[in-house]
Symmetry: C2
Subunit: 243 residues, 2 copies
Amino acid sequence: MSEEPKGPDVDRPGRAATVSRRTFLGGAVVGGVAVAVGLAAWLVRKAPQPSQKGTEMSARLFTFLGGEEGTWAVVESRTIAGEPLPEVKRLNVVSGAVSGLPGGATWLLRGVTSNERYVTRAEKDQLVAKQQGLSRPEATCAALIPIRKTAKWWGLTQDERRKVLEERSRHIEIGLKYLPAIARRLHHCRDLGESEPFDFLTWFEFAKADSGAFDELVAKLRASEEWKYVDREIDVRLVRDGA
Amino acid sequence: MSEEPKGPDVDRPGRAATVSRRTFLGGAVVGGVAVAVGLAAWLVRKAPQPSQKGTEMSARLFTFLGGEEGTWAVVESRTIAGEPLPEVKRLNVVSGAVSGLPGGATWLLRGVTSNERYVTRAEKDQLVAKQQGLSRPEATCAALIPIRKTAKWWGLTQDERRKVLEERSRHIEIGLKYLPAIARRLHHCRDLGESEPFDFLTWFEFAKADSGAFDELVAKLRASEEWKYVDREIDVRLVRDGA
C-alpha cells in the first residue's frame, strides 16, 4: 500500500484539529447488553465535534413517552395496521434522549429529524413558504402516527420510491394543500439502531377547527398507492392540557 | 375528534396481533445518562416484531473497533480532512453492537447498512450484475474511510444532491468501473443518534493487485464536486492477517 509513516496528513493542516484520546478511552463496562450498547454508543457520541455540528445534531432526536403523564391527553388511539401499541392516557414529547423509562411511562418511541429524502427544490420552496412551526397557541390538537413500511418498499430504488410517493400517490402535493393549517415534523427511526418498532414517527399539530381537514388528509394518504407499503400504523389523537 | 371507544381498530383483525405489555414495562433504571439511554432504547427494540424483520434488521448494524487487536492490520492511516482519529495498530469489524469498549480497543465506530438513497433501478441492476461480496479469499486488502459531509450538503434537496453526486460527479458511474475488483459496503451513521462523529463509514475489500486501482478510484472521487461537501475524512488502509 504505502511506506509513508502513519499519522495525520500534514498537507491540509488548516483542516486538521487535535482530538483528545481520552474521549475515546475509558468508561467501565457496567454489564448487561443493553447497558453496554448505550455506553459504547455514548463513547463515540461524546467525541468532540468541530464546528457547531454537535449542537445542531443534538436538537434532532425526539422521544415520545406514552403513559400516565404528559402535556398531551390521548383522546383516541386506533391501530390502522399491524400490532397495536399498549394504550396510554397521556403523552409527552421530549427533545433529546430520555433516561430510562420515567415514572408513569408505559412505552417510548424515538426518532431523529433528518434531511428530506424525496422533495425537490421547487417543492421545498413551496413547503417553506406555506408551512408553520409547531407549538402555535391555537394548535391544541395533535396526532402521533408511527408508521412502518414493508421490506418491499425499502428494496425499491430511489427513483422507484419517488415515483410511488409523489408521481403516483401525490404525497407532497396532498400535504401542501393542508398547509399552513397542519404543522408537522417527521422523525426517522429506521436507522437509529438494529430493530426499531417503526420506520417513522409522524407528528402533526392543528387547531380544533382543522380536525376534519386533518382526517381528510390522512384518509387521502391511506387511500394512495404508497400506503400499500405500510404494514404497521397507529393513529394516536391528542389534545393539549387545558384545551 | 371522535367519540369512538379507545382500542385497536377491529376493522382489520387479520393485521392485528397481540403485544405483550411486559415488553414495554419494567426494567430498572441503572443510573447514568449513557446507561439509561441504552436501556430505554433496548426496551423499545425488544418489542416483538411481526414477520422476520427483527432478524433482517439485526444484520444491519456493524461496529468497527480500532485498537491493539483485530483481524486487519493497519498499514497506513491518513487524515484527508478534519480531525484525525487516534492511531491504532489493528481493526476488527464486528456484526452487531459491541458491549462497551473491549480490551485493546481505542475507538469504535458504528453504522447501519440501509436502503440506497441515490441509485436508479437501471444503475442498481448494473451494480448487482457486476458487484462481488465481501470476504473473498483473494481480497486481502481493505480500506475503512469514514466520511462526514457538511451542513450545506444536508440542506440540499434530494434532486440537488442527486445532481451533484451523479450528474456532476459521476459517483455511481465511477464506482461501477471498478467492479467487481473492489467490493464495498456502505454504513450510515448520521441518523444513528444524536451526534455521531461521521455520516458514513465506507468499507472496501480488494486484492493486493488492485490496490493501484483503488487509489485511482478514491482519487477520482476526491477530485469531484461532491467532495467539496466532505469536511471530515480519514483513510485507513488495512491488510488481513497472514496476507
